[in-house]
């Protein structure tokens, strides 16, 4: 079952990549401009941290690391599971019909339906930020990859949860997108800025803490326990998201679509 799904995912990713690369100039423009976009945004932090060397224990290299991990994880998410941001509309429009008749997992298919070329720009610029922070070497590379993948899994899980609310609430596109953007926004600012109840929210309902803060802590001081914690959390969020989607699918009402799909 898992092997079957994995080979399906591989085929989906390969097809998406081919489709994305077919429009080569559009692809290059999106990648380059997204990377430029990320570097320009970071000018804010460079300008600030030149004058203020530490912010409650965080220095520029920590912020580069945070930004790099989140950008790379986000890039990985929208490249490999770009359909997550369209789930709400698919559900609300009854457009899952075409996937329900396919012999593969509906969720995997829906997630892999779209690849966002700009995600490569995020991924590349993210890795450059991580390298700038001084965390890319042959020794640290496996941990960097593990934390980025775990962070991306949490992004995907949150996307599934936010956009699957459409099963119960109908048109939730705007709200779900806002929740998704809030997750990204909170992930990009240093952990010590947030305290009290908000901190609890950032490690539960809107898990920016697991998307960005814990991976930064892991790369600053790697330990088996913290890596295992991050992986377990990522798997737990993903399982919860899949369960929620399956629950929602039972409530799904057809859009009576008669289209060919392949």
């Amino acid at each position: 079952m898992v092997a079957n799904n994995l080979s399906f995912v591989r085929a989906l990713v390969a097809t998406n990549l081919k489709a994305t690369l077919a429009l080569r100039s559009a692809f290059v423009i999106q990648v380059v401009f997204m990377a430029l976009n990320n570097f320009t945004f970071f000018v804010f932090w460079w300008a600030l941290m030149v004058r203020v060397t530490t912010l409650r224990g965080w220095n520029l290299s920590d912020i580069e690391l945070l930004f790099g991990i989140v950008a790379a994880a986000f890039g990985l998410t929208v490249t490999l599971a770009g359909g997550v941001r369209h789930l709400g509309r698919l559900i609300d429009d009854g457009a899952l019909d075409t996937l329900l008749t396919q012999p593969k997992s509906v969720l995997v298919h829906a997630l892999g339906m779209r690849a966002q070329p700009s995600g490569f720009g995020d991924l590349i610029s993210g890795l450059i930020f991580v390298a700038w922070a001084g965390h890319i070497s042959w020794r640290t590379m496996p941990i960097v990859m593990v934390v980025i993948v775990a962070s991306a899994l949490i992004f995907v899980a949150c996307g599934i949860v936010f956009f699957s609310l459409a099963f119960w609430l109908g048109r939730v596109e705007t709200v779900a997108t806002q929740l998704w953007e809030l997750l990204v926004t909170f992930s990009l600012y240093p952990e010590p800025l947030f305290g009290g109840a908000l901190r609890l929210v950032l490690f539960t309902l809107l898990p920016a803490g697991f998307v960005g803060y814990l991976p930064v802590r892991i790369l600053r001081a790697p330990s088996f326990a913290s890596v295992a914690t991050l992986l377990l959390v990522a798997i737990a969020y993903l399982c919860a998201a899949v369960l929620l989607f399956d629950r929602g699918l039972r409530r799904y009402s057809s859009g009576s679509r008669f289209t060919t799909f392949g």
Binding site: A26, F33, L36, T40, F41, V43, V52, L55, T174, L193
Partner: protein, 263 residues
């Protein structure tokens, strides 16, 4: 433009304003984002002040500065998205034959949306900034910020229109928008007043419309205004003229291309 022609465009504005009031979800989303971003930055400025402020302003006025810049930016409706979709679908061809200017009609629609968003977001900005700082800037400063901020939002809307028209050539204008938006962040001083940036960035900013759109109107709440109201008004008029010229030139080129290709 005659009164009858003007009435047509006023009707476009009124219709889009009515639609915006009927579908307030996006506006609520922007209000929520406003609350979060001001909360994050009030916390950031507190942390910065603990580490030693890098500029003369105090954390409270910096929160108000951000409230003003974000209000200006978030009030401007991103009309380039809909223009891009109309161009991609080909719907724009049917609009070109209407007895109104497509560009002027889109701008009028944008102004209608702006008229709904600006007051709501303005109140949100004021309430949130006050809640986070327990302080308000002098009334005189706020009275200067509001009209200039509204004018700047209108100019940003016109610039979005120009970005949208680029879809005739590029199909997808998102990459242009991302970079334009981030240039606005930096050269416009969205999150940090321009004086914090290195000198070469400050010099580069002078040759762009961005400081007049965000940093200059918002700097009145800091008490150290970037330019006098007279100079700001002159700059906004000059950049509005340049934008109108650019949009009209682009649209003429587009229409001739569409005609040559057979519509």
């Amino acid at each position: 433009m005659t009164a009858a022609q003007l009435a047509k465009y006023v009707a476009f504005s009124r219709i889009s304003a009515t639609e915006a009031r009927r579908e307030p979800n996006e506006l609520y989303g922007r209000m929520a984002f406003f609350v979060v971003i001001l909360g994050v930055f009030s916390s950031l400025w507190r942390a910065v002040s603990e580490a030693g402020m890098p500029l003369a302003a105090d954390p409270k006025s910096l929160v108000w500065y951000l409230a003003a810049t974000e209000w200006i930016l978030l009030s401007a409706p991103p009309i380039h998205v809909e223009i891009q979709e109309a161009i991609r679908r080909g719907d724009v061809v049917y609009r070109l034959g209407h007895p109104v200017s497509y560009v002027a009609a889109e701008f009028a629609r944008g102004l209608g949306l702006l008229a709904v968003r600006a007051p709501f977001l303005g109140v949100t900005a004021f309430v949130c900034a006050f809640a986070f700082t327990r302080w308000t800037p002098p009334l005189k400063a706020l009275l200067i910020v509001v009209p200039f901020g509204f004018a700047a939002s209108a100019l940003i809307t016109a610039l979005y229109l120009a970005i949208g028209l680029l879809a005739f050539w590029l199909q997808d204008v998102a990459p242009i928008y991302w970079v334009w938006q981030k240039l606005m962040f930096v050269l416009g001083g969205l999150m940090l007043p321009l004086e914090v940036y290195p000198e070469f960035i400050q010099h580069a900013a002078v040759f762009t419309p961005f400081p007049s759109l965000l940093a200059a109107p918002a700097s009145f709440v800091l008490g150290t205004s970037l330019m006098t109201p007279g100079v700001l008004a002159r700059n906004l008029i000059l950049w509005s003229g340049a934008t109108a010229f650019a949009v009209s030139w682009m649209f003429r080129r587009v229409v001739s291309d569409v005609t040559i290709n057979g519509g």
